[in-house]
């Protein structure tokens, strides 16, 4: 199983052409994945730097570090960067791009040029937003609520909105590419129910990207039109309803939270199977759960608006639907746990991240159920309870999953191993730092501390100091992997084609894979995660 090869293969996608042009004009999905990886890492650290400033400011109750105006711009840009430019593209555009063709045994995505175009669109969108940031910033919150964003804010709303609008198309095209690829490019024998669960979750994610993103695009366009030309879509002065904006915004942005977490769930399914060396418990149920989350996720958006002046009856409908969307998530958590039962569990870094994901996602998700419960929502909405909820899912869940996946497939991507001890250490630091940062926020939230507050009553200070302390630990935790992954690119030991002894088409080609992925198109005659079959020699 563990065939450690001393050197990298002579020919692979990384040495198939050198120089900047061979990257900027590449159509190889694997190289495009790396382009994305570089860009989103940049955006993550920009967003992270703002988080650092936010936490520094909040270490004391007075607004002493930055002005209120700057603070508002900080959390807005933090949210915009992290959501639209980091987390939404994170797994799909990097690991997804890299792995979808490999996992189904194809040579590339269905539309390679479109894939490259998506990256360029993403970069242009990012540049617009960075321009907005540098030339003065935006202070609307990442939610752009009207009428503040349309008539009151004097900041750079339009460039930011355009940046998000443009980036939306990158997301749409990526989703479209995945959908077509998964439908039309599977290798012979790779039936739907033989696909790795990662592909199911990417497929479900793509559905959301394709169905939801256009709505945010048009909504943002309406905001821009209203700001630039005084069109009255949401302006009460002409009889418009500011709350309508919220409906349209959340029609996308709620499902978007599943764009962020579903791919991580896919990673966790892969990692748990590989490090327990057994099939995922209830494979089909987990697969369907992904699609169910994607579909149900579209029916719950107004749970962000329970106190926003919607009708009581609509609130009840959306509350009960939000409850339903929690069920497939719960089912997945139980199935992963059950998969570990009687496994052959290896404590390597990706598995640590996966375990972290399951635990923290459970806490984040369960607090989501608090929020979907109407009476509790009224009290905690727009407080730090919300901030804690979504960081538990997005940082504790989605980001952990992303890091887990990055570590798991890093040998495949780079052909080299990372230092295992450092990796485990930083996983531990991240876990501790994370909980210290965000757990106190639940308490602060129920006590009533509102979010987006630049200064706060001194009663909340103890909790905020804890949180700020945690954030500095967390920041260190993120810098370490950054450092050793870069280091390993050059100095890491060669990984061999299958360093973890995992089953899956991506492990059957060299690390790094050749440009055309496989020497011959594979023919698949086994189910996903067939470790028994591998031992018995039926998987080859």
């Amino acid at each position: 199983m563990q065939t450690t090869v001393a050197a990298l293969p002579p020919r692979h996608y990384l040495n198939d052409g050198f120089g900047i042009r061979s990257w900027l004009f590449t159509r190889d999905h694997k190289r495009i994945a790396l382009l994305y990886l570089a860009t989103i890492t940049l955006f993550f650290f920009i967003g992270g730097a703002m988080a650092v400033l936010i936490r520094l400011e909040l270490a004391t109750p007075a607004g002493d570090l930055v002005t209120d105006e700057t603070y508002n711009k900080l959390f807005t840009m933090h949210g915009v960067m992290m959501v639209f430019f980091f987390l939404i593209p994170s797994i799909p555009a990097t690991l997804g791009n890299f792995l979808v063709p490999l996992m189904i045994g194809a040579k590339d995505l269905a539309f390679p040029k479109l894939n490259l175009l998506s990256w360029y669109i993403f970069v242009v969108g990012g540049l617009f937003t960075l321009y907005a940031l540098i030339s003065g910033g935006v202070d609307t919150g990442w939610t752009f609520y009207t009428p503040f964003s349309t008539i009151s804010s004097t900041s750079k709303v339009v460039p930011t909105a355009l940046g998000v609008f443009i980036t939306g198309f990158s997301s749409i095209l990526t989703g479209l590419n995945f959908i077509v690829t998964i439908h039309r490019m599977r290798a012979p024998g790779m039936t739907w129910f033989r696909m790795p669960l990662f592909l199911w979750s990417i497929y479900a994610t793509s559905l959301i990207m394709v169905l939801g993103t256009p709505v945010i695009a048009i909504t943002i366009l309406l905001v821009a039109a209203e700001r630039l030309f005084h069109f009255g879509f949401f302006d009460p002065a002409v009889g418009g309803d500011p709350v309508l904006f919220q409906h349209l915004f959340w029609f996308y942005s709620h499902p978007a939270v599943y764009i962020m977490v579903l791919p991580s769930m896919g990673v966790v399914s892969e990692v748990v199977a590989a490090f327990c060396r057994k099939p995922v418990f209830g494979y089909r149920i987990v697969a369907f759960a992904s699609v169910a989350i994607a579909v149900l996720g579209f029916l719950v958006w107004a749970h962000h608006m329970f106190v926003a002046g919607i009708s009581v009856y609509a609130a009840m409908i959306f509350s009960v639907l939000s409850m339903l969307v929690a069920i497939p998530s719960a089912v997945k958590v139980f199935n992963w746990t059950a998969t570990m039962y009687r496994g052959s569990i290896s404590w390597q870094t990706p598995m640590l991240y996966a375990m972290g994901f399951i635990g923290l996602f459970t806490i984040g998700g369960l607090t989501g159920v608090f929020l979907a419960t109407l009476a509790v929502n009224v009290h905690v909405t727009d407080t730090y309870f919300i901030v804690a909820h979504f960081h538990y899912i997005m940082v504790g869940g989605a980001l952990m999953g992303y890091l887990g996946g990055l570590h798991y497939w890093w040998p495949k991507i780079s052909g080299r191993l990372y230092p295992e001890f450092l990796a485990k250490l930083s996983a531990g630091i991240i876990f501790l730092g994370f909980n210290l940062t965000f757990f106190p926020q639940f308490v602060a939230g129920y006590l009533g501390m509102p979010r987006r507050y630049h200064a706060y009553p001194p009663d909340f200070q103890v909790l905020n100091v804890l949180s700020s302390a945690g954030a500095s630990i967390l920041g260190v935790g993120y810098l370490i992997p950054m450092a050793y992954l870069m280091w390993s690119l050059r100095y890491g030991r060669a990984a061999g084609s299958n360093p973890f002894g995992a089953v899956g088409l991506e492990w059957m080609t060299t690390s790094p894979p050749p440009t055309e992925n496989f020497a011959t198109t594979p023919v698949v005659a086994w189910d996903a995660y067939d470790y028994k079959g591998e031992v018995e020699g039926r998987v080859a």
Partner: protein
């Protein structure tokens, strides 16, 4: 399944004629006083026309099941957007929050 279907031009001309007639019809109907039914009629005719275009001009009638799923799925999601948004607006009139 990959067989391309060549639709006889006669079909296209027939559909074209029906579409033109429906356009005339929808204008005429708009001038009758049907109360709330005016909107219903206008939309019904528009949907009918759209279905014709999709089925014949866009060849969906002769396409794979997957294409049908995509088309119906698209319409369904539009329905979600419209219907769930309207639940709020329709029931706001019932009061409580005013």
């Amino acid at each position: 399944m990959s067989q391309t279907h060549v639709v006889p031009t006669r079909v296209y001309y027939t559909i074209f004629a029906i579409l033109m007639f429906c356009t005339y019809l929808t204008v005429q109907v708009a001038f009758l006083d049907l109360g709330a039914l005016n909107t219903v009629a206008a939309l019904a005719i528009a949907v009918f026309k759209a279905v014709l275009v999709v089925l014949f001009f866009m060849h969906v009638k002769y396409s794979t099941r997957l294409t049908w799923v995509v088309v119906i799925g698209g319409a369904f999601w539009l329905g979600i957007l419209l219907a769930l948004t309207m639940t709020d607006y329709l029931s706001r009139a019932w009061g409580t929050f005013g």
